[in-house]
């Protein structure tokens, strides 16, 4: 299926494998980028895209295999090294130093320790040219980034890449922080560069962008390279099916054991909710005993929504209310939410969840310890029994509370984290993408577990960026897009295509609506600037 490039590749990944300890992030990855092409790199979350990017931008070195630039193997031991080989990268995270002017942020790293590569004027002119071509105001080069909008910050990092000499530009979800006009100007700029034989590796979730831009696309799935397809083949449907690994992506999809609940017995609700400043407001009901899936691409508001529901994040406007035996109590913060029976399982395990220096038992019992304590002194026996109970229920391996949490696989660590909150026996359990980068066995356990919980009357709200997951275990799915719930799907309408389409701001039903949406999508993007 892959069409080999005619000229020798600008950059080539040959049989790259990369491991973090036990977990394999990338195995036998093959990717070759021809001069003057825009090469798409697509795949669901955790498919190894970001690993590829890190390898090419010199942040990591591969465990096996080699990176070739212009045909010869190179060692990209640092971002500086990558730039020496004229590979520049713009990341999704807008990496700027707030204490330096925009201009300094753009040119830092181009010069030696002391020697400046260019005069201040030369820098300003070069930078202003690029900034102007991206349609942003040159003022952003002078002011301190503290006060710039997300989009303006991203313009800085784009400029940083474009002012450097480059053969390959890597855009790692870089457009997700841009407003539409800037994005389009960027695409125009890239078009010119292509004519000069420069190439772009374009990593994006946004099908519309891919369609506009790419010549070829390489698809990654769970760490493996599925293949590379030419522009003609690279239709959304094709790519999606390659990403999901199913040929029937277009086909109507029904989930086993689906039950649509008529009972509008609402336990948690958001009223006139808007997640970030100026984002459109919406309402959302969570029904008692259901599993509500929250879908959407990274950075489209999904995680903001769950955080807001759990009281971890303040609402920009509107309110979240929980049903406390008949009366609506407003959720003001996560401590109060916890007292009202809402438990929140944070998303980023490492940053927000685990205590790396502590044991499995400690990690699991942290939130509920007081319940086993008299006068601050807990009865370790009763804590341990509870911990073991949860560990059995969740099937944590190894079944040893005194095991260091850092010794566990991602999946088991995640089980422990969930166990911490299950131990609190909440009415509503809110999970922030609990299954990201988790092995299949664990996933299966989870689906069953969640069912069990709902049987027992617990309500579950679960964020997932993997459509499969949402389909497999949710009663309803609210898809977030542009910082608001774009659509809530259930029953018949809850299909792979529907979810996928909604993620990209479309309704499967009518194609035209895509334009409407993208237009109001734009308006929203504009306001944030």
């Amino acid at each position: 299926m892959s069409t080999p490039p005619l000229e020798p590749a600008v950059v080539e990944l040959a049989g790259i494998t990369h491991r973090y300890g036990p977990t394999v992030a990338l195995s036998d990855c093959r990717l070759s980028i021809a001069p003057g092409e825009v090469h798409g790199l697509v795949g669901e979350n955790g498919s190894g895209k970001s690993t590829v990017v890190k390898l090419l931008s010199g942040i990591m070195r591969p465990t096996e295999g080699e990176v070739r630039v212009g045909g010869k193997a190179v060692d990209l031991r640092s971002p500086a090294a990558a730039q020496r080989h004229e590979i520049v990268t713009v990341f999704q995270e807008t990496l700027v130093s707030d204490e330096c002017s925009g201009l300094d942020n753009v040119f830092a790293g181009t010069d030696g320790i002391f020697r400046r590569a260019r005069s201040g004027r030369a820098e300003r002119e070069a930078a202003e040219r690029v900034v102007a071509s991206l349609g942003a105001s040159p003022a952003i080069l002078q002011s301190s980034p503290h006060h710039l909008s997300l989009a303006e910050r991203q313009v800085l990092t784009l400029t940083r890449a474009l002012v450097r000499p480059w053969k390959l530009l890597i855009l790692d979800e870089a457009t997700s922080a841009l407003d539409l006009s800037t994005r389009d100007r960027l695409f125009a700029v890239l078009a010119d560069h292509r004519r000069e034989g420069r190439s772009v590796l374009f990593v994006s979730h946004r099908m519309d962008e891919l369609e506009i831009l790419i010549d070829r696309a390489t698809v990654q799935r769970s760490g493996r390279t599925v293949g590379t397809v030419g522009k003609d083949e690279a239709t959304p449907a094709r790519l999606l099916s390659m990403m999901s690994g199913r040929s029937d992506a277009g086909e109507h999809h029904v989930r086993a054991g689906a039950r649509s609940r008529q009972a509008a017995d609402v336990v948690l609700r958001g009223v006139d909710l808007s997640l970030v400043a100026q984002a459109p407001a919406f309402d959302l009901d969570v029904r008692r005993g259901e599993i509500l899936g929250i879908g959407g691409l990274d950075g489209q508001g999904g995680s903001h929504l769950v955080e807001v529901l759990a009281g971890v994040r303040p609402t920009a406007s509107g309110r979240v209310e929980v049903d406390r035996d008949g009366s609506w109590t407003r959720v003001t913060g996560y401590r109060q939410a916890f007292r009202s029976g809402i438990a929140y399982v944070p998303g980023k395990r490492q940053e927000e969840g685990l205590f790396p220096s502590m044991t499995v038992g400690d990690n699991l019992s942290m939130a509920t310890l007081p319940r086993h304590a008299r006068a601050g002194l807990f009865r370790s026996s009763s804590v341990l029994t509870r911990v073991r109970e949860e560990m059995t229920r969740l099937g944590v391996v190894p079944h040893d509370p005194s095991y260091p949490i850092t010794g566990l696989s991602g999946g088991n660590a995640q089980k422990v984290l969930v166990g911490r909150w299950l131990a609190a026996e909440p009415d509503v359990l809110i999970l922030n993408d609990p299954l990201r980068g988790v092995d299949l066995g664990t996933k299966r356990d989870f689906y069953a577990l969640l069912r069990e919980l709902t049987e027992a009357g617990t309500t579950v709200v679960m964020l997932s960026t993997e459509i499969e997951e949402l389909l497999t275990c949710c009663d309803r799915v609210a898809v977030c897009q542009a910082e608001r719930v774009f659509d809530v799907l259930e029953g018949e309408d809850l299909t792979y295509d529907a979810v996928l389409a909604a993620m990209f701001g479309r309704h499967v039903s009518d194609e035209q609506s895509s334009d409407e949406q993208s237009s109001d999508h734009d308006t929203h993007r504009k306001v944030t600037l």
Binding site: A80, R84, G109, D111, G112, I113, R115, A117, P165
Partner: protein
């Protein structure tokens, strides 16, 4: 467009240079350590009329010569002066004292303990008396530098600006204030340094004969121990001239007597002294013939011996603290010591200052005096029942002062009769 020196190459570059600098650095550090052995060889740097400061070093010709010139009546007190001070002519030779009333100022390097407070109290008492005689202009300005040399220097300067005629400086650091003293002298202000030697030759120093005192107590210990066995010297703060001087005196005596000498570093701090002594005793099971006190040691050392369950050897005292007397009474073990309260020191400093204000010329820049001795014969006169093991006070000279005013007659010449005052040391609280 990529420049010749990319970050990459420059990295290799800085690695190399970093290593180079590292090497050079270590070389320099090593030379520094080299100085360890080498700073013995003589200081030819000072060719002026003042002797060199030779802390912990043997006497030079210049030193012995200078000692010859000291009036015989005072020579004892000047023994081994080079350990703590520099001897030479009166730096204020062409200084014309102003007419009374005078403004007195008191610059202390630290006031945070009882000993220092006694000094200040006495000084204030004296100034009040002189005030009654109409010799004082305004209140005494007092400053305290909290052991910060440069701050004390500015404080001295401030006093000069505020029109002090006499600045009494309590235990300044050995170096660090000379510049301040110089500018004071230029401004016609008399600077008298009390209770410590100094490296500055532009101030008048009033101090007791540390070396001599060290010798005296050491001699007593040799006699008591019968000149054999091991004596432990409880040293003060390393590098502080006052401490080194008495230690030099004692060492000289012990070596002569052929005793084995071992050291602990007490740093004039009871808790340190006691832990050091305990650690010494635990590591040295064999008998100790005696302990020589370089300051503050007597009581904690005695406690250490008692608490380590060892029989108490002869332990000298030094500064004659009330606690030491109480300890002597309690253990009934004979000892020897001196009265060395800050008050006494201040009294002597005032005597010197007043003589110079009266136009008298000191023969030397440094005026040393012997300390009254406390021994078995006069113990009962010094001991008072109020004294306890934790008293902070000091024993005071029986006749109210370390030496009679006449002591200075040989050390000064010319001028008129100085103003007089009562030391009133006996009126200090005993607690």
């Amino acid at each position: 467009m990529t420049a010749p020196s990319t970050p990459e190459t420059s990295r290799a570059g800085w690695r190399r240079s970093a290593l180079a600098v590292l090497l050079v650095g270590f070389v320099v550090l090593l030379t520094a350590c080299g100085g360890l052995s080498a700073d013995e060889d003589g200081d030819s740097a000072s060719a002026d009329e003042y002797t060199a400061l030779g802390t912990g070093k043997p006497a030079t010709e210049a030193d012995t010569a200078a000692l010859e010139d000291v009036p015989a009546s005072a020579r004892d007190a000047y023994a081994g002066f080079w350990h703590s001070t520099r001897l030479g002519p009166n730096p204020y030779a062409d200084w014309k004292p102003s007419k009374a009333p005078w403004k007195f100022c008191y610059s202390s390097s630290y006031q945070g303990n009882t000993w220092r407070q006694e000094g200040l109290t006495v000084a204030e008492g004296i100034v009040d008396q002189l005030d009654e005689q109409g010799l004082v202009d305004g209140d005494m300005i007092v400053s305290d530098a909290d052991n910060n040399a440069s701050l004390q220097a500015t404080q001295v300067n401030t006093m000069v600006q505020k029109g002090c005629d006499v600045v009494l400086v309590m235990q300044p650091p050995t170096v660090g204030l000379c510049n301040a003293f110089e500018s004071a002298k230029d401004a016609g202000v008399l600077v008298v340094v009390m209770q410590t030697g100094t490296d500055c030759t532009n101030a008048i120093q009033s101090d007791f004969g540390s070396y001599f005192a060290g010798q005296t107590s050491a001699k007593w210990l040799v006699e008591k121990t019968g000149g054999e066995g091991t004596v432990v010297m409880c040293d003060g703060i390393p590098g502080v001239a006052a401490a080194e001087a008495r230690q030099a005196g004692a060492t000289q005596v012990f070596e002569e007597a052929g005793l084995t000498v071992e050291h602990i570093t007490g740093e004039w701090t009871p808790s340190t002294i006691k832990s050091q002594m305990l650690q010494y005793l635990t590591t040295h099971p064999d008998d100790v013939a005696g302990v020589w006190d370089g300051g503050v040691c007597a009581v904690p050392v005695t406690e250490a011996f008692e608490q380590a369950g060892r029989d108490l050897p002869f332990v000298t005292g030094f500064e004659g603290a009330c606690a030491w007397l109480a300890n002597w009474k309690k253990t009934d073990k004979e000892s020897i010591g001196f009265t060395q309260g800050a008050g006494q020191g201040v009294v002597e400093a005032f005597k010197v200052a007043l003589r110079m204000l009266a136009g008298q010329q000191p023969e030397l820049n440094t005026l040393l005096y012997p300390l009254p001795e406390i021994n078995a014969s006069n113990f009962d006169e010094f001991y008072k029942p109020e004294m306890t093991l934790s008293s902070g006070c000091n024993a005071q000279p029986l006749d109210g002062e370390s030496v009679p005013s006449s002591y200075y007659d040989d050390l000064f010449s010319g001028g008129d009769e100085p103003a007089t005052f009562e030391s009133r040391l006996d009126q200090l609280p005993v607690k």
